[in-house]
């Protein structure tokens, strides 16, 4: 039988040790673990996903999205709303006229990113999303959702460069496919 009351004293020893180490040690070794949020921030991991955004190349008009509506259909809580832009002739312009995402409904699952065949919708790192009213403030429209590819490269470098390479390859392939038709006489270097 151990001494009656020993457990109590040992517990007090542990708390006292933690009290002392909170002054001397680094966070990882028993020091204060708090991150003082607005001033200090922990970096977000690259894979971190929050709300979706739309990527454009160069200028906001050059949006990657073609308003195919796959993400709208696959979104589990159905928080995406897309309307196709019509050109002067009334034909679909393969561009979204309206692209709304209700952040109040979105559950950050990342399915839109997974299903998008045009690499145009990705999950953002910005988590400080707040609005006074959920019906108005949290529904984000196309204008707010559009972010540049540079921003995307900044927050998720690995994924962005992989996608850039893929897109480059596809483009080159396309160019190469187009080139033989246009410049056969030059006997150019076709694609392999």
């Amino acid at each position: 039988m151990t001494l009656f009351g020993w457990g109590v004293l040992k517990g007090m020893g542990v708390t006292f040790k933690n009290f002392l180490t909170s002054y001397f040690r680094k966070p990882d070794e028993g020091g204060i673990f708090t991150v003082q949020y607005p001033e200090e921030r922990e970096g977000t991991a690259e894979n971190y996903r929050n709300f979706p955004f739309l990527v454009y190349d160069g200028a906001p008009e050059k949006i990657r999205c073609v308003a195919c509506g796959i993400c709208e259909r696959e979104c589990p809580p159905k928080c995406i709303h897309i309307e196709m832009e019509l050109d002067a002739a009334g034909k679909p312009a393969r561009k979204p006229a309206v692209f709304d995402i209700d952040y109040g409904l979105c559950m950050n699952c990342g399915m839109c990113e997974e299903v998008c065949p045009f690499d145009s919708i990705f999950m953002d790192h910005a988590f400080e999303v707040a609005a006074p009213e959920r019906q108005i403030g949290l529904v984000r429209h196309k204008k707010e959702l559009l972010k540049s590819n540079e921003y995307f490269r900044e927050i998720r470098p690995a994924l962005a460069s992989a996608i850039d390479q893929k897109r480059k390859a596809v483009e080159e392939k396309k160019k190469a496919a187009a080139q033989p038709a246009s410049s056969q006489s030059s006997g150019g270097t076709g694609s392999l």
Binding site: T2, F4, G5, W6, G7, V8, K10, G11, G13, V14, T15, N18, F33, E42, T44, A45, E46, N47, Y48, R49, R73, E74, P76, M107, N108, C109, G110, M111, E114, V115, P117, M123
Partner: protein
Amino acid sequence: MLEINFGPQHPSTHGVFRMTVQLEGEKICGLKPVFGYLHRNHEQIAENLPYAAIMTYTDRLDYVNALSNNFGYALTVEKLAGLEVPERAQYIRIIMAELARIVNHIAVIGFMLNDLGAFFTPLLYAFRERERILDLFEAVTGSRLMNNYFCFSGVKRDLTDANLAVIKKMILKFPAFLEEFEALLTKNEILCMRCQNIGILSGETATNAGITGPVLRASGVNYDIRKVDRYGIYDRFDFKIPLGQKGDVYDRFYVRVLEIRESLKILDQALTQIPQGEIINKKSLSILKMPRNFKPPVGEAYGRVESPKGELGFYVVSDGTPQPWRYHVRAPSLINLTVLEEMCLGQKIADAIIILGSIDIVLGETDR
């Protein structure tokens, strides 16, 4: 005779659970658990979604360890559709599921000690460690709680070498934390007074009521689905099942501590054995890209895993369409709650709170 409603708004009912307690002085002579305040139509929603999209909803069942739910659901659909899982993905799954178990267990222990009245100290120590694991989850899966990490026949993202190194470091440090935690409270006389011989659940009652998980094992019944089913690749690891003697609150508390140690053992082995290779079956990539094209053959499947709370089962019936015809979750929290009254009768009010805490319920799973 006094009738008191504990909950749905009460500091220690772990959510919107409600107990109607009949008291005689401080003694409980009747207790009725009331569920359903967090009912979100989980099963019905799932029956209207493609298979892959349901995965995101399983996160919301037991939101303390979403990865176990992912695991169970992925296992069930793989069984239904006959999908193969690559070797590396198997290991990653085990690693993530065991980390989730650790997260769950330390959170539960911390909350239970908080219910006992230890003013947040053990809880915050536990959360300090939990935070490290959650940071890892964020780095790997993209989210801290709602991981949505598993997919059919694989996992969504690879564990990089850096991640593996972090895990390695973590499991090396973890025993020290457990030592400190145990020194803080497990031998504490007040804690022993409060927990020992309180809320005794006999092994027989537990088996009859269908109790599973640490609650059952604390009652001395050797039943762990990791050993019984040997799902995934659990047969390759050497680990033990800790069993309690009396089935009281203290046993339920301590069995969890011991299970964390066993999980660390599994993690250690998995980290040394993990091979290189694919993390997802190439054939199954299309399920991710086009969820609605995935139509499992007509049939039914029941898959179960040892979630930290007990046997977590998914029952899925396919009629050949993209959506399951029937989808049911066997939620361990709900079934473990059924013996609450039995354990609480004749105890004091304060005991009812810790008995509830020791069952480890998550209302997201109980009410679905």
